[in-house]
């Protein structure tokens, strides 16, 4: 559901639609809480740094995707928004890759 939907109408059909969305928000909230517990629990095992970084980033990416897709409604957005964000992702990856490329003996964090 986007503002453009809001722009067109706020009828009883929309109210039913919103009820479905609210159920999704609650489910996402529970999933985010569970993943937060997973993140903290995994860190207690004191895994080797490369594995710990990989696991933490995977869990954080899943959590971030849930927030972006459902709370920020990116799962049903217009093409222009996707175009803007695709460009942002390209530059973001380049930005993060720069310091990684400066390391001569591999990219694993010591």
């Amino acid at each position: 559901m986007t503002s453009d939907h809001a722009a067109t109408s706020m009828t009883s059909d929309h109210a039913v639609d919103i009820d479905k969305h609210v159920r999704v928000y609650i489910t996402v909230f529970v999933a985010l809480m569970a993943l937060t517990i997973v993140t903290v629990a995994v860190s207690r095992y004191h895994l080797p740094v490369p594995i710990a970084v990989t696991v933490a980033l995977i869990v954080a990416t899943i959590k971030g995707s849930l927030v972006a897709c459902y709370f920020m409604h990116l799962i049903s957005e217009k093409k222009l928004i996707y175009a803007v964000l695709s460009l942002t992702v390209v530059f973001f990856i380049a930005l993060i890759a720069l310091p990684v490329l400066t390391v001569h003996d591999g990219f694993w964090i010591r």
Binding site: S3, A6, A60, A68, F71
Partner: protein, 196 residues
């Protein structure tokens, strides 16, 4: 003169101007935090050794703050959903909850910071604390900024609901997008700084 395309969508973009505006702003925010994350990586890979975050930082407090911020994202999206259902009273409750949860986050952060300062742990102490204070400080300012905007929509800005409810709903959605972004940044900051 009225601001164009606040309620009706533009034919060329398929969006309201506010919607495209907030996403362009968030794209710039991604680059701002991206630059700081890149700095973190550069400092960390260049250091002969790097401490685990829990050596200096309070993980239980940060976990509490993570839960608080995620909960505030839910109340924020519920505030918007309440407007979509034309329930202004419920909107006020959820938006008030979002502002309060933001305040709880900042109060917890205040206790964390004061503990460090009283223990003589300052940004100049070492690189870990320098990047920790920079990243969490900038994030905290974003929480504060989001709270100010949300408080405006809870209070004086809510007058728009009576004259133009669709525009008001759109504005709340846009402030919600910023709030969720702030939550998203914390989702990455928490493991990066506290757990690795």
């Amino acid at each position: 003169m009225d601001i164009p395309y606040t309620v009706e969508v533009r034919r060329d973009t398929g969006l309201t101007n506010g919607k495209i505006g907030i996403w362009l702003f968030l794209a710039s925010e991604v680059m701002l935090f991206g630059a700081l994350f890149a700095s973190y990586i550069l400092i960390r890979v260049g250091a002969p050794s790097w401490p685990r975050g829990d050596t200096f930082l309070d993980v239980p407090l940060a976990t509490l703050n993570t839960i608080v911020l995620i909960a505030s994202s839910v109340t924020m999206v519920m505030a918007w959903a309440s407007l979509m259902r034309r329930r202004f009273g419920t909107f006020r409750i959820y938006m008030g909850g979002t502002i309060l949860l933001g305040l709880v986050f900042l109060v917890v952060k205040y206790f964390e910071y004061s503990h460090h300062f009283h223990g003589g742990e300052l940004p100049r102490t070492h690189n870990f604390l320098a990047i920790y204070f920079t990243l969490t400080g900038l994030h905290g300012l974003h929480v504060l900024g989001g709270m100010v905007v949300n408080a405006y929509f809870w209070g004086p800005g809510a007058k728009l609901w009576k004259t133009n409810p669709v525009w008001f709903t759109n504005r709340v959605e846009h402030s919600g997008l910023f709030w969720h972004f702030v939550d998203l940044v914390w989702i990455f900051l928490f493991p990066t700084l506290y757990l690795l």
